[in-house]
């Protein structure tokens, strides 16, 4: 017998299911076929095409997740000391990950304001070509938050926020508190009518199955023969369809079927591939962390650099900002941050947690390629990834793929750098601008 499955959603004509309608077998056949199509698209089971599963990428493959990209506290000065000229600085230059199905993003940067200075935001791709902007920000309500609206493509890009910085005696209060970035939501709503419990929600009053596994559910198929024309309207088929629907509802929505308010599905959809081995994996940003600050001109010009190379506290440039490793060998802990990660699949095929680090090599010579980055957390240590240059700029980026993580737990991610040349560090210093983490398939 062949499993009844629609090639695409068919539905049942309204006239087939109204009172006094003639009983056609097609409504139950189509309902069974449509259900099993829905089941396969959600679970990836029964060899359903991987390019048609529900992975929340939009365009019929599930509503985009639209997760915020970051809310980062920074708390650093925006004042220049020494003889470095006042100039435009990228106070944030950081990798950001655009998830499928979301483009327009809002960026807010909390800074002090000096007179009527403008700030701009721009998004650039992996070749440092403009994707969006520069757009001029505005301060809604005259508050501290400078807001921008930018367009973000899919995948890794760079967000750069530019501000004119002044000497500490001119703008002694210059300060950056933090920043946030999130996709534009059509409605920042709380609820739109569908409720978790209560008779108004979709559902049935027949208890869902106590477990949902391929072994127990995938075997409960509805075959063509069960819903063939001229066959009886079989209560066994109706009950099976009702039961399967209730189970899939609880698994997919995370909500109990009304009348069965204590959830009986033992699990809900978590993309761990433990319930369904072909369950689609998700792409989503995890965090973007801004660290360094450079003059805009240092992206392309190796002069007028910020900071005093190879010494202790910088006596040139933005106060408390410049970050350049001052030891020549060994792993240098640059940053550590904790974050809770979802219970995604962590074995092959892995959910692929990537980390992208960006640095600026503004010294004479080309030394960015001498540096490497890795991610260390309590459960794993990645291999070293060598920085590669972004086009002809002074920016270098390293991508650490398939970073290990503890699924469904808090993860303390430590970003480490090392200089592979060793010996004298003169001429080997860099500015660490930031890093981003994302599930990037």
């Amino acid at each position: 017998m062949a499993r009844k499955k629609s090639a695409s959603f068919v539905g049942s004509p309204v006239g087939d299911t109204v009172r006094d309608a003639s009983i056609f077998a097609r409504w139950i056949g189509n309902a069974a076929g449509d259900f099993q199509l829905t089941y396969d698209r959600i679970t990836g089971e029964n060899s359903h095409s991987a390019s048609d599963t529900i992975n929340h990428s939009g365009n019929g493959r599930g509503c985009p997740l639209a997760l915020p990209i970051v809310s980062q506290q920074i708390e650093r000065n925006l004042r220049i000391v020494g003889t470095v000229n006042q100039d435009d600085f990228f106070i944030i230059l950081v990798p950001v990950f655009g998830a499928p199905g979301t483009q327009t993003h809002v960026v807010e940067v909390d800074t002090t304001q000096f007179e009527d200075d403008q700030m701009t935001a721009e998004v650039r791709d992996s070749s440092w070509a403009l994707v969006s902007g520069p757009v001029v920000g505005n301060r809604p309500g005259g508050g501290r938050a400078m807001r921008f609206v930018v367009t973000l493509g899919q995948g890794w890009q760079y967000l750069a926020i530019k501000k004119y910085l002044r000497h500490d005696d001119v703008d002694p209060n210059g300060y950056l508190n933090g920043w946030r970035m999130w996709p534009e939501w059509l409605a920042p709503g709380e609820s739109n009518g569908l409720t978790v419990t209560g008779s108004g929600a979709a559902g049935n009053k027949f208890a869902a199955q106590s477990t949902l596994t391929p072994a127990t559910v995938a075997s409960q198929v509805i075959d063509d023969a069960m819903v063939a024309a001229d066959s009886p309207l079989d209560p066994w088929v109706l009950t099976r369809l009702n039961r399967l629907w209730g189970t899939l509802w609880e698994y997919f929505t995370g909500a109990p079927v009304p009348g069965n308010e204590t959830i009986t599905c033992t699990t809900t959809r978590d993309h761990s591939q433990t319930n369904f081995t072909a369950e689609p994996l998700l792409e989503m940003p995890v965090a973007s962390v801004a660290l360094g600050c450079i003059k805009e001109r240092n992206v392309t010009i190796k002069s007028d650099f910020v900071g005093t190379i190879g010494t202790g506290s910088p006596i040139e440039g933005p106060i408390d900002w410049v970050r350049y490793p001052q030891t020549a060998t060994g792993a240098i802990l640059v940053s550590q941050a904790s974050m809770w990660l979802p219970p995604f699949a962590n074995a092959s095929p892995a959910s692929n947690l990537d980390c992208v680090v960006v640095i600026c090599d503004y010294n004479t010579g080309v030394i960015g390629g001498n540096w490497q980055a890795r991610v260390v957390n309590p459960t794993s240590t990645s291999g070293w990834s060598t920085f590669t240059r972004i086009s002809t700029t002074n920016l270098w980026t390293a991508t650490i793929a398939s970073v290990g993580f503890s699924a469904g737990n808090e993860n303390r991610m430590q970003i480490e750098l090392q200089n592979t040349v060793g010996g004298s560090i003169v001429g080997q210093e860099i500015v660490v601008l930031g890093y981003g983490l994302a599930f990037d398939l």
Partner: protein, 219 residues
């Protein structure tokens, strides 16, 4: 004049009693079974199952069609970080990095006003996004003994529920310690004052903090 829908849709339940062998074959059974399949398909696909009929399910909290993993019934809430303050202990290896706070005297305090964006979600009792877990990590930096601190959060200037405090105990100068506090969240802007008060005169540094959505489901 709006067009009538061409395919049945339903959110009405049907009981197993209605499906027994000798139960009457009423139209509501067909309507419920066929209609609810369409309903679930649309929630999964995020687009109308029948394009010409338009959307037949409620919009989700972000204003789009379908399950968006923002919490039941819009799918299991995705666990992810909501707010991050990275950091690392002071080191000679890198300049510019500094601990978030360094305290050494009992009664001394440090605080930060954390401002974050929380994705739209259904505000309901026990909704997964309604609580965020604040994690504070610190380490003893000098001397012997055990450094301790109390972590509090304030909404505006008002201290939150006294139960929403935690004690950070740092007995080691080499291994980080952590404390967690659950704080209420609402969709959109959330602002909290986070206060750390030393409760012993042993020096310590707070190295990094975060707030994450950690609950998968409420049932």
């Amino acid at each position: 004049m709006p067009r009538p829908i061409t395919r049945i849709v339903s959110s009405s339940p049907v009981t197993y009693l209605q499906l027994r062998t000798h139960a009457p074959a009423v139209a509501s059974i067909a309507e419920s079974l066929a209609g609810r399949v369409r309903y679930l398909y649309e929630l999964a696909a995020g687009v109308p199952a029948i394009a010409d009929d338009g959307v037949v399910t409620p919009l989700n909290p972000q204003g789009r069609v379908g399950v968006d993993r923002s919490g039941p019934p819009w799918g299991d809430a995705l666990q992810h970080p909501i707010w991050i303050w990275e950091g690392t202990p002071a080191s000679t290896s890198i300049y510019g990095e500094k601990p978030i706070a360094s305290l050494s005297t009992s009664g001394s305090k440090a605080s930060v006003r954390a401002r974050m964006i929380v994705r739209p979600f259904q505000l309901a009792p026990l909704a997964p996004y309604s609580l965020g877990q604040l994690t504070v990590r610190g380490i003893r930096t000098a001397g012997a003994g055990t450094a301790t601190a109390t972590i509090r959060t304030y909404a505006g200037t008002v201290a939150e529920d006294p139960a929403r405090t935690a004690t950070l105990t740092m007995a080691s100068s080499t291994v980080l310690s952590s404390a967690t506090v659950l704080i209420p969240l609402v969709p959109g802007y959330v602002e909290r004052l986070i206060e750390i008060e030393a409760t012993a005169s042993v020096a310590f540094a707070v190295t990094h903090m975060s707030i994450s959505q950690i609950v998968r489901r409420s049932h």
